[in-house]
C-alpha cells in the first residue's frame, strides 16, 4: 500500500476530557480492578487523593478521542478493515483523579511502508489542568497489505 509520508509530524488540535468519578469506577470495574483507590471515594481520600484515582490504563479513555482525530484523518488514510493494533506504550506522570481536566495533543510520529504494509504511529501527550504531563502514549498500528 502507498502511504502519505507528508503527514509525518502532523499535529492535531488538543482535545479536552473531563474525568468523571463514575466513569473511573465504570472503567475500573470493566477491567477487574479491585484496589479501593479506584472505586471508593473515602478510601481514595484517606490515601490523600482528592477523589477516586484513575487506573493508569484509564489513559486510553482520556486520550482516545484525541488519537481518533489522527486515526480517522483522511490524509493519513488508514484502512480500518486491514488495521492491526501492533503495540502500545504509556509513560505516566502524576496520578489522574476524578475532577481532573485532561488535555491531549496528538501528532503523527511515524509513517512508513515495509514489505507492502503501512506502519502508523501516533504520539499522545496528555496534561492536567495544572499543566503537568500525566501521560505520554505511543500508539503503533499496522495496516496490512492486500
Amino acid at each position: 500500500m502507498a502511504v502519505n509520508l507528508e503527514v509525518l509530524g502532523k499535529t492535531y488540535p488538543p482535545v479536552l476530557y473531563a474525568v468523571g468519578r463514575e466513569k473511573v469506577r465504570e472503567y475500573a470495574r470493566a477491567v477487574g480492578e479491585t484496589n479501593p483507590l479506584y472505586l471508593d471515594v473515602d478510601a481514595a481520600r484517606e490515601a490523600g487523593h482528592d477523589d477516586v484515582v484513575a487506573p493508569p490504563m484509564f489513559a486510553v479513555v482520556y486520550a482516545m478521542p484525541a488519537v481518533a482525530a489522527g486515526m480517522f484523518d483522511p490524509e493519513v488514510g488508514i484502512d480500518f478493515a486491514r488495521l492491526v493494533h501492533a503495540g502500545q506504550q504509556f509513560t505516566w506522570g502524576p496520578l489522574v483523579v476524578a475532577g481532573d481536566e485532561i488535555s491531549t495533543t496528538v501528532s503523527v510520529k511515524d509513517v512508513s511502508e515495509r514489505r507492502g504494509s503501512g506502519f502508523f504511529a501516533f504520539e499522545s501527550v496528555s496534561a492536567n489542568q495544572r499543566g503537568e504531563t500525566v501521560c505520554t502514549g505511543v500508539w503503533s498500528n499496522i495496516v496490512r497489505g492486500s
Binding site: G32, P55, V61, M64, G87, Q89, T91, W92
Partner: protein, 130 residues
C-alpha cells in the same frame, strides 16, 4: 508483596473474561469496533467470534505490575506488543519477573498468555520501588 529485586517473579494474575466482558469494556473505554462486540460481524471478517480488546489485555498486565509495585503511583511506563488475539471465556494469565533495578526503578518483563499462547509478549514495565 514480594520485594522487586532482580530475578524476583511478580504475583501472577489470572482472569477469565465472561462472554459479555467485551461489551462492558467497549462502553467503559469508548472503543466500539464491531469485531469486539458483534459476533456475526466478527465471523464475517474471518474471526472465530468476538475477540478481546488488546488494550483490555494490556490493562491486565498493568494491573499485575502496578499491584507488584504497591499501587498505581508505582507504574512509570508500560510498553507492549500485541500478538494473536485474546478470546472471551478463556483464562488470561499475566506473569513476569524483574530483570534489573536501576536508581529505584525496577524493570519488569511480562507476558500475557491464553491457552498456551502469548497474546501480549515483550511487555516491559518500569516500576518505582522506593
Amino acid at each position: 508483596m514480594a520485594a522487586l529485586e532482580p530475578g524476583a517473579e511478580i504475583e501472577p494474575l489470572s482472569v477469565t473474561p465472561d462472554r459479555y466482558l467485551t461489551v462492558r469494556y467497549a462502553g467503559a473505554s469508548g472503543d466500539f469496533n464491531p469485531i469486539h462486540i458483534d459476533e456475526h460481524f466478527a465471523e464475517e471478517v474471518g474471526l472465530p467470534g468476538t475477540i478481546l480488546h488488546g488494550l483490555y489485555s494490556m490493562a491486565q498486565v498493568a494491573r499485575a505490575v502496578s499491584e507488584a509495585g504497591g499501587g498505581p503511583q508505582s507504574l512509570r511506563r508500560l510498553n507492549v506488543q500485541f500478538r494473536g488475539m485474546g478470546l472471551p471465556e478463556h483464562e488470561l494469565t499475566v506473569t513476569g519477573s524483574v530483570t534489573a533495578v536501576n536508581d529505584g526503578v525496577a524493570i519488569v518483563q511480562a507476558v500475557c498468555t491464553q491457552q498456551g499462547k502469548a497474546i501480549i509478549r515483550n511487555a516491559e514495565a518500569e516500576v518505582q520501588v522506593d
